[in-house]
Every structure is written in structure tokens, then in C-alpha cells.
């Protein structure tokens, strides 16, 4: 779908803050609220906008448990089938949060979330590595998130170090 400059600005603003209201966006990009509304509707219809999610630093939520692992998966390319079929068999699992086809030393990068390390380990050994086209898996547990989707975790938004009035 072809989008113009202002539409790209709308997308950028929403990507940074999915809760920004239509009126504010309209003012910022110099369109009417109706035009912005229409553009957003179009993006949703055309699946340019797939949804609105919230970036949460769960480590700050007391009592919440969870671990994430990034798994490098090597697969046997099957004649006439390509990678898409294997990828689909993997991404359908609810534990799987992301799947990417990669260039380089392995084929698929799979991000898996679970409550505990052993739960993730069980998923990998019982579900993932037993798929018939999977040759090998290498599991990396994420110990700490510093930056995710362009957002630096733990950075204070109100850290304006400027003087209140300056020339």
C-alpha cells in the first residue's frame, strides 16, 4: 500500500505511543481529526497496523515470574516445502512469541516465554526439537533486558537536566 509523508508520520507517532489521541495527532501533522481517523482505519484494514501493544518491564512488577529464551533453530530444508511450513508449525505454539527466518549459522530464531526455566526447557526438548525437520536447537536465556523495541528500560522520562529558563 502506498502511503504519503503525513501517513508515515501518523504511523511513527502511533508506534511510539499507541495511546496518542486522534486530535493530538491531527494537530501535529496538520490534518483534520477525520482524516487521521480515516488513515488509521485504512492502516488497520490493510493490516499495516496489526494491533496496539504495551511495552511492559515485567521485572519491575513484584510477584511476576517469567523467563524468555531466544532459540537458534537449524532445520532440514525440505524439497518443495521451504521454511514456511516449519515456521508455521513452530509459531502456532502459544509459548512462542516471535519467529524470524535468519541468514547465517542457523535458520530460525524463535523467542519463547514461560513461567520458569524448566518450563521453557521442557518446551524445547519435548516440542521444538522433536519436530522432524529440526536438526538442532541452541537455547539462550535472556538474563536482563536493557533495550527493547527502541525503548531503553529503566530510563527515567522526567530527567530534564535543563535550567527552567534559558536564553
Amino acid at each position: 500500500m502506498k502511503v504519503d509523508k503525513k501517513e508515515i508520520e501518523i504511523l511513527e507517532l502511533l508506534e511510539k505511543n499507541g495511546r496518542m489521541d486522534v486530535h493530538t495527532i491531527a494537530q501535529m501533522v496538520e490534518l483534520s481529526p477525520e482524516e487521521v481517523e480515516q488513515a488509521i482505519q485504512k492502516f488497520e484494514d490493510q493490516q499495516i497496523i496489526h494491533g496496539y501493544s504495551t511495552l511492559i518491564d515485567w521485572t519491575e512488577v513484584l510477584g511476576y515470574e517469567g523467563v524468555t529464551a531466544m532459540i537458534d533453530v537449524k532445520v532440514t530444508p525440505v524439497r518443495g516445502k521451504g521454511f514456511n511450513d516449519v515456521a508455521e508449525r513452530i509459531y502456532r505454539f502459544p509459548e512462542v512469541k516471535a519467529v524470524y527466518l535468519m541468514s547465517g549459522a542457523y535458520d530460525l530464531s524463535v523467542s519463547v516465554e514461560g513461567k520458569t526455566m524448566s518450563q521453557v526447557a521442557r518446551f524445547v526438548s519435548e516440542k521444538l526439537s522433536t519436530l522432524d525437520t529440526v536438526i538442532s536447537t541452541t537455547t539462550h536465556f535472556i538474563l536482563k533486558k536493557y533495550k527493547h523495541d527502541g525503548i531503553i528500560f529503566g530510563e527515567d522520562d522526567n530527567n530534564d537536566r535543563r535550567m527552567p529558563v534559558s536564553p
Binding site: 507517532l13 501535529m28 535543563r162 527552567p164 529558563v165 534559558s166 536564553p167
Partner: protein, 391 residues
């Protein structure tokens, strides 16, 4: 013996008025949880690659003085930049000097050209330092006002009326602090004609040039016959969010830049070395971050402009910089009264327009270099304040 040591102070220094900005700073500093639209600098932190390059220069041990005029490499990059962005050719060797902020470039330019009593025309409302810098250099500042009715654009007739036999130079700032007004080529040409006719020099403060929202920014030096009459002043403070680095530059006719370099050499030696290495990186790879910041300023300008219109405060459309200069005349308050009451009642700091010269009275300067969250809240508060005053 008198214990009043102020008797030692030179008369021309003693005569300087304390900046109105300073007074407002003192007032705002005493209060907590103030949303400040009074800040004349970017809300971004310097792009990381610039900071990193400066670290790297320190790690490499580049901690000594540089050439007086600045690192040749940096001057070359500045010259290349001015050529490609504004089509003005300067030789790095003798036509560019790296200074401690645009502030120092203005200071040494004035000191290099003024004889005692020479007049310098200043277009108000303007950056607070111009008049005092002229006085400190032994000159006499002569103000020309601009009006909202003309979008705060300098009118050639008014300029003409203020030129005397003693006029030596004029300071132009485009886009302007505090109004955000940007002059186009068509608007600059008649001014250039007058300058030619009266044999004047121009200090063209182009520190906000990269932050101009409308296409076709014209550098004064690129106008016909103006190259030999212009000292182009700019820097890294605003466009690269580097105010604290204290780095600027001037470019112009070799004789003038060399005279400025003499003063610079005996008073400053050179601009800070690590800042110069940061600036090298800024010019090499910084244009993407400048574009990004500019886009964000433009969106915020659009937002505050509509917000002021909604609350019934007349405003010009800023073509550049990150200031908006709405009229507060409807409230019947002076700009000082307005700013002070707004600060006390709603905890929003803006700068009274009168600080920028007589023609700024009746207006306030709001900087929109602040997060959308803060801007949204500030506009809500100002609206509430204005509604109370309009009854």
C-alpha cells in the same frame, strides 16, 4: 576608604542591564514542579555517536590545544557543509573559525569591527545578548522593532530610517529567537540592497538555520553581493542539541575572520578540544539525527500553534527555531505580569516578550522543545489561566 568595590567596575559594564531572562530564571528556580516553556535549548540529549566520538578522542589522548582557529578537519567539514547546504564557498584555512559557542563568535566579530561609538542595528525582538555584546565591544546598539502585523519580519523602510552615518553593521537572526520568524529570499533581497547602498556589514546569526520548517532556507551570504559583507555565525548548540558543549563557528571574508582569530587567540586560545572532536562526528554522520529532531519540533510547533489559536491568543506561524511568540494583549496584562502570574498560578514558565526588546511587549516566548506530555499539560494550564483572565 569606601568598602564599595563596585567603584572599580568599568562604566560600560556597570551600565549593562541584568538580563530579564536572569530575573525570570531566579523566580522560576524557587518553585517546584514547574513545566518550563522558558528553555531556549533542545530537549534532546546530544546524539550518541557525537558523545561517543568525544569519549574516543579523550581515550586517544587528544587533550591538548588545537590550532587557534580550530581543528583543520573540523573547519573543512564546516566549509563543506556550508557549501552543500547553502551554496556558500569558504576556505577552511582562513575563512572559518571555530568558537566557544555562537556567543563567542558574535563577541569577537563585534570586537573585530567596532570603533568606539560605531552603531550596530539590532532587529527586535531578538536574542538577549546582541545589544550588550555591542556595548561591550564599544559600539552603540540601535534597535529596529518588528511587528506581529508583518509576522515580525524586518521592513526595509524601517531599517532605512535607522541607518545613520555611524552605522557600521546590522545583526540579523534568521530564523529568529524569540519569534521563530524566517525570512525568505524575496524578503531578504531589499534588505541586502540597503546594506549594499549604505556600505554596511552583516552579522548573520544562522544558528537555527537547520531547524527551518519551510523549504528553501537562504543563507544571507549567498545573496548577490553579500558574500563580502557577511559574517555568517552558526554553531552546534541548537541543531545538534549541543548547548553545553560550547561550540560554534563563524565564516566570512578572510580579513575579517583573521581579525577575529587574533582576538580569539589572545583571549580563548581555542575552543575545547573534545567538543571539537564531537563536532567532527556531528558533521560527518549527524544529519539523520538533525532531521529526526527537526521533524519532532515541527510536529510540536503544529500542536502548540493550534493550541494557542484554540484559546484565542493570536500567534504568528513560526518558520523555524523552536519558539512561538503568541500575543497576550487580550488579557490586558503586560508580558511580565502575564508570565509572573502564569508561573505562580499555574506553574508554567514562559519568558515575557519584553525581555527581547520593546517590540516584544504584549507577547510571550514559549519554547516547544519539551515533551508532548509536558506540552499537552502546559497548554491545558495556559488555557485555564487565559480563560480566567478574559472574563
Amino acid at each position: 576608604m569606601s568598602s564599595d568595590t563596585s567603584r572599580f567596575i568599568a562604566e560600560h559594564v556597570d551600565s549593562l542591564k541584568p538580563s530579564g531572562i536572569r530575573r525570570f530564571f531566579d523566580l522560576a528556580s524557587t518553585m517546584e514542579n514547574v513545566i518550563s516553556l522558558g528553555v531556549g535549548e533542545p530537549d534532546f540529549v546530544t546524539p550518541w555517536n557525537v558523545i561517543e566520538a568525544s569519549y574516543h578522542s579523550l581515550e586517544q589522548g587528544y587533550t591538548a590545544y588545537t590550532a587557534n582557529a580550530g581543528l583543520l578537519e573540523l573547519r573543512q567539514l564546516i566549509a563543506e557543509y556550508l557549501q552543500s547546504a547553502y551554496a556558500v564557498p569558504y576556505r577552511a584555512e582562513d575563512q572559518v573559525i571555530v568558537t566557544v559557542g555562537a556567543s563567542q563568535a558574535i563577541d569577537i566579530a563585534l570586537r573585530a569591527i567596532l570603533n568606539p561609538g560605531d552603531e550596530v542595528i539590532i532587529v527586535e525582538p531578538c536574542f538577549v545578548a546582541y545589544a550588550s555584546a555591542v556595548t561591550l565591544a564599544g559600539g552603540v546598539p540601535v534597535s529596529v522593532g518588528t511587528q506581529a502585523a508583518n509576522e515580525f519580519k524586518l521592513q526595509p523602510e524601517e531599517l532605512m530610517n535607522s541607518i545613520t552615518k555611524r552605522t557600521k553593521a546590522i545583526i540579523l537572526c534568521n530564523p529568529n529567537n524569540p519569534t521563530g520568524t524566517m525570512l525568505s529570499r524575496e524578503e531578504l533581497l531589499p534588505i541586502a540592497n540597503l546594506i549594499q547602498e549604505h556600505d554596511l556589514l552583516v552579522l548573520s546569526d544562522e544558528i537555527y538555520a537547520e531547524l527551518s520548517y519551510d523549504d528553501g532556507y537562504v543563507s544571507f551570504a549567498s545573496l548577490p553581493e553579500m558574500y563580502e559583507r557577511t559574517i555568517l555565525i552558526s554553531g552546534f548548540s541548537k541543531s545538534f542539541a549541543m548547548t553545553g558543549w560550547r561550540l560554534g563557528y563563524a565564516a566570512g571574508p578572510a580579513a575579517l575572520i583573521q581579525a577575529m582569530t587574533k582576538i580569539h587567540q589572545y583571549t580563548i586560545m581555542c575552543a575545547p578540544t573534545m567538543a571539537q572532536y564531537g563536532a567532527v562526528e556531528a558533521l560527518r554522520s549527524g544529519s539523520a539525527s538533525v532531521e529526526q529532531m527537526k521533524k519532532s519540533y515541527r510536529q510540536r510547533r503544529n500542536f502548540v500553534m493550534t493550541a494557542f489559536e484554540d484559546m484565542g491568543l493570536m500567534t504568528n506561524r513560526p518558520g523555524g527555531a523552536f519558539y512561538i511568540f503568541p500575543s497576550i494583549k487580550e488579557t490586558g496584562l503586560s508580558s511580565e505580569e502575564f508570565a509572573e502570574a502564569l508561573l505562580i498560578e499555574e506553574k508554567v514558565a514562559v519568558v515575557p516578550g519584553s525581555v527581547f526588546g520593546e517590540s516584544g511587549e504584549g507577547y510571550i516566548r514559549c519554547s516547544y522543545a519539551t515533551s508532548m506530555k509536558q506540552l499537552t499539560e502546559a497548554m491545558k494550564r495556559i488555557k485555564r489561566f487565559v480563560e480566567r483572565r478574559l472574563i
